[in-house]
Symmetry: C2
Subunit: 312 residues, 2 copies
């Protein structure tokens, strides 16, 4: 299961009624944060997910509205009692930004390990999740993230019995290891079915649409994508500022065959983004306007299900 919670949906500056765009993810015993603008820890506290289990932070880029909340958050994670390392992923230049911001968080009871990712990189996230990044197109380097929980092929007990595999060896085969018994060898593929679809989401913000977004969003259960501008008439402003319109985000969702689209990162000039949802749903009907507290679970059994964001 992967739980996703939108903490904020704003662009550029935090507003009294709109926190900056970021996403909190819960997987197993760990939390993973995507972007961390000023005030992230404040709105986070509303939902009771705790801070101690924050194991990884994935940064799309280094503009202040996506990273300025980091030093305060690191202190709060420290106050919550974390001692295990915390991994921070981001594009080239992330290490220098973290070093600068840590001028006010120089001593922490846990290691902060910074990983600068090249576009195309694949990396391990907590609880067996896999991350992948591609480059976007913005005024500075930006990454779009895909996060996936792969699903093992089903084990076929009938096939195992037919091959005479003792039940004590089933677990190894289920985990992909060959086993030898009575002078014979049985390979995992002899007793496993076809590959099965895992669950996945993508987080795409502060970028013009690029072809690689179809890769990160390909077949995801949920695409969370910026829609800085609602009206398609704002396309020239979007191009000039390295952002997207609602319709452009919806086009990625449609062309990548995403399950659902949540729009976020709304421009400060758009107090009521819901007024423009038609611009997106005309292209991709399964679109929702993001809001603080919008949450969902991704499960193998049921795909995407809405989630009560409080507690857990």
């Amino acid at each position: 299961m992967i739980d996703l919670l939108l903490l904020g949906t704003g662009a550029m500056v935090p507003l009294p009624n709109r926190w900056l765009s970021c996403l909190l993810v819960r997987a197993g015993g760990s939390l993973i944060l995507f972007d961390c603008g000023e005030g992230t820890q404040v709105v986070w506290r509303r939902f009771g997910w705790g801070f101690k289990r924050l194991a990884a932070i994935c940064l799309t880029h280094q503009h202040a509205d996506h990273v300025a909340g980091l030093p305060g958050l690191l202190h709060t994670v420290s106050n919550a009692g974390r001692t295990e390392p915390l991994d921070i992923f981001g594009p080239t230049g992330t290490a220098a930004v973290i070093a600068g911001l840590r001028v006010i968080a120089p001593v922490l009871p846990f290691d902060v390990r910074v990983h600068e990712l090249e576009p195309g990189a694949s990396f391990a996230l907590p609880d067996g999740l896999r991350g992948n990044v591609v480059a976007g197109a913005h005024s500075i380097p930006v990454l779009a993230y895909r996060v996936e929980r792969p699903r093992a092929p089903a084990f076929d007990p009938a096939a195992a019995r037919a091959l005479g595999v003792p039940t004590s060896a089933w677990s190894a085969l289920q985990h992909g290891e060959p086993v030898a018994f009575e002078g014979r060898q049985v390979r995992p593929e002899d007793v496993l079915g076809l590959p099965r679809q895992g669950v996945a989401f993508a987080f795409v913000t502060d970028t013009r649409p690029v072809p690689a977004h179809l890769d990160v969003a390909n077949g995801v259960d949920l695409l969370i994508c910026e829609g800085t501008y609602g009206p398609s008439a704002k396309i020239e402003t979007a191009i000039r500022n390295g952002h997207m319109t609602f319709a452009e985000a919806a086009t990625i969702a449609r062309d990548a065959d995403a399950g659902e689209l949540w729009l976020t990162h709304f421009g400060t000039g758009m107090p009521r983004p819901d007024e423009f949802i038609g611009e997106a749903t005309a292209v991709f009907p399964r679109t929702r306007i993001g809001r603080t507290g919008l949450a969902a679970s991704l499960t193998f059994a049921h795909g995407l299900e809405e989630l009560d964001p409080v507690g857990g």
Copy 2:
């Protein structure tokens, strides 16, 4: 006139219902901010005082809960159109902290001029205000601030007429300049009355009480002082953490003959600071529990008057 607005009253971490301790001051056409924790710009926006006129920031010390909001605020001041320089005052080490935090605000349309103040320093603030600092006692260097608007002595027209001073020369004398006419010289003190009381406030936080606090708070119209702990029984915790109890803050107000005391910087373990106001009023009756939006004006004519914080 000096207008003062408490933006937040919290210590250590910003909470959903309590912004971090900081004070916004308006004098003439300029704004001056005292401390800038994470989220300061968010709550600031509620009151409609604008950002462009922010001319100075006074920092007590460099702990994250007092400075983490700076880079985001600098961007917002930039977006508001400021091009005039912005002065940042603080203790030794401030320049390095600003340099670190500006990793995410490297290019601004205005100069940021950092001034590291030695304890005892006097410095000019916008609109003719004078600042003074003394050292407190905390885990790192901390400054307590006094800000004063001096008041010129009253001009005595009868004395000027008796000396035969032409009215065209009155203004120069009022401004403290000697004038010469008809072969004679008249000095300002010949036509000015006794010195008159100005208005002043002090901002004291993140410190144990020290004797120098009686100097910064001496006779101020308003002392804004930390009260991290309400109950006097918490004195040992206060000593250990370099903070004060309500009663200790009230003792400074009483001994310095302050006009009024506003308590702020409430510990996270004290959700209802008003429950402990008796600890302060037993020592100094004119005490108020700070809250976001508590505001006052200091005027020569009326001293301290409560102020509607919105707009202006």
